[in-house]
């Protein structure tokens, strides 16, 4: 049933997905020439391509097509899980495509060993999982305008945080310090657990986050569907 549901989403959103992912392909190609590190490149590439599932949800809301999906011989849980499979699959495929670019493009500024490093793969998986875990429930609950408001709000928040960080650089509780504290905590965990242990612990945490998000999305979807 999952395969059929994903097939439905891909057929009905084919043009929009081709357009979006084509645009992302151009963006990551440009990014491969910007002189950034492998992990940063992996982060942005995965972020772009993880929007496939969000595009599907947004279009479903835009065309009020949820009713169509709900009248098909499938369960609400199946519909939601379909999106949680499609998201990482499309995000992962997009990230693999993006990561292959620096390896095949002679003009790319990103060294191949950084692309092939385990940290880059972990960054990609984390980005895709966390993006979907946060955005899928919000999109199911608040629809197209909700997700647009959230994305615009996050950008405004980011700009404000950046401005605050510059203004209060020496204040201990400033946003810059918070980011540095998180980075330092992750660094400590990495040192304590070792490379493999840290990777396994991260993957386990991501699996839990993803499962919790999926449960929340199913509950929201059921509630919105059944009134």
């Amino acid at each position: 049933m999952l395969r059929e549901l994903i097939h439905k989403d891909l057929v009905l959103n084919r043009n929009a997905l081709l357009l979006n992912n084509g645009l992302f392909a151009v963006m990551v190609t440009a990014l491969a020439h910007q002189g950034i590190g492998g992990q940063e490149y992996g982060f942005f590439s995965s972020l772009f391509f993880s929007f496939t599932a969000i595009t599907v949800l947004v279009r479903e809301d835009k065309f009020k097509a949820r009713a169509l999906g709900c009248s098909l011989p499938v369960t609400a849980r199946g519909i939601v899980i379909g999106r949680y499979v499609l998201g990482p699959a499309a995000g992962g495929a997009g990230a693999l495509f993006a990561l292959s670019l620096p390896l095949v493009l002679p003009t790319s500024s990103i060294p191949g060993d950084q692309i092939l490093a385990a940290e880059t793969a972990l960054t990609c998986i984390s980005t895709i999982t966390i993006t979907l875990a946060l955005l899928v429930p919000v999109t199911i609950r608040f629809g197209m305008f909700g997700i647009l408001a959230l994305l615009v709000g996050l950008q405004v928040l980011g700009v404000a945080a950046f401005a605050l960080a510059r203004r209060f650089e020496d204040v201990a509780l400033g946003p810059g310090h918070a980011v540095r504290w998180i980075a330092s905590a992750l660094g400590d965990a990495h040192a304590a657990l070792g490379g493999l242990g840290f990777s396994l612990a991260t993957l386990a945490c991501l699996a839990i986050v993803s499962m919790l998000s999926c449960q929340a999305s199913v509950a929201i979807f059921e509630r919105r569907r059944t009134g």
């Binding site: 059929e4 065309f63 059944t226 009134g227």
Partner: protein
């Protein structure tokens, strides 16, 4: 084998200040039931409850003998549903919609879909947004009929269509139904649509069933008696279903025309009650009682 396509018992659902109360009726296999009533009567709510698109508060719904919640997937596979509002992708055409949903239905037949599209005159490669309102309805019908559903639930399929297009759509539908003996629950407030296709009529007002009867029985026993005030007194109170007074006289809707004829004799002016007459007179009476 269960002989009913739909069996509803004691169904209840509350939404804010609207409530569907103790709704019970059944639709035998192979027949067409018209679900009529004014806007806001609860027709769409019943259709959605049968599809398990909204959760019922009380009661039971069995489709082909199976509980529609416990056997949700199995039940939906046997139903073709047409919504009262379009729910298709604007930038996709009939072919794409069919290709997307076909694998989810075990009984989908592509040749049938193509034949129906041809019969209904729906262009297979025209985007949904470029279709006229009537064509959009026909596209929904083509998709609902292509998996060889045993039960069709059509929620206001003709609303917003002009009379010519409505007639055309109903003719197409009647052709398919006549050939294949499917069960149909057809909700509408345009009651004239049902005169030609329905076998049973269920009348709903303010969330309650006022009657659920064979159309033949309605035609035989229900009538409008015209006259002066004496007509009101002549029709037994228990048989009176509605009264309309105007400066030209009084019209009484009775559900026992035989008895009224006996009481009034040859002086009575008795006319056949159309479904529209029944709906208007009963709704007015119910609204007066409610007020």
């Amino acid at each position: 084998m269960n002989d009913n396509a739909i069996e509803i018992q004691g169904l209840g659902k509350r939404f804010g200040d609207f409530a569907l109360k103790d709704v019970s009726f059944s639709l035998p296999r192979g027949y067409v039931m018209g679900l009529i009533g004014p806007n806001g009567a609860g027709k769409t709510t019943i259709a959605k409850l049968v599809m398990n698109l909204i959760r019922r508060d009380t009661g039971t719904i069995r489709v082909f003998g199976k509980d529609n919640v416990a056997a949700e997937v199995e039940v939906r596979a046997r139903i073709g549903f047409v919504y009262d509002e379009p729910c298709f992708y604007d930038d996709a055409n009939l072919e794409q919609h069919a290709r997307a949903i076909a694998p989810l239905y075990p009984g989908w037949k592509q040749s049938r879909c193509e034949r129906l599209a041809d019969r209904f005159g729906v262009p297979p490669r025209k985007k949904f947004k470029a279709l006229s309102h009537g064509m959009k309805r026909k596209l929904a019908l083509v998709l609902a009929l292509s998996h060889d559903a045993d039960l069709l639930i059509l929620d206001e399929p003709t609303s917003g269509l002009d009379p010519l297009f409505r007639r055309d759509l109903l003719d197409c539908l009647a052709d398919v139904l006549q050939d294949e003996g499917k069960s149909v629950l057809f909700s509408t407030h345009i009651v004239s649509d049902l005169e030609r296709v329905a076998d049973y009529v269920t009348f709903l007002n303010q969330g309650q069933i006022l009657f659920s009867l064979d159309k033949e029985e309605l035609a035989e026993n229900w009538a409008i008696i015209k006259g002066d005030e004496s007509v009101v007194a002549a029709v037994e109170e228990c048989d009176r279903r509605g009264i309309r007074k105007s400066r030209y006289g009084v019209e009484v809707l009775t559900c026992n025309v035989g008895s009224a004829r006996k009481l009034l004799g040859a002086d009575a002016v008795v006319e056949r009650a159309s479904l529209e007459d029944i709906m208007v007179l009963m709704t007015q009476q119910e609204d007066r009682h409610a007020a």
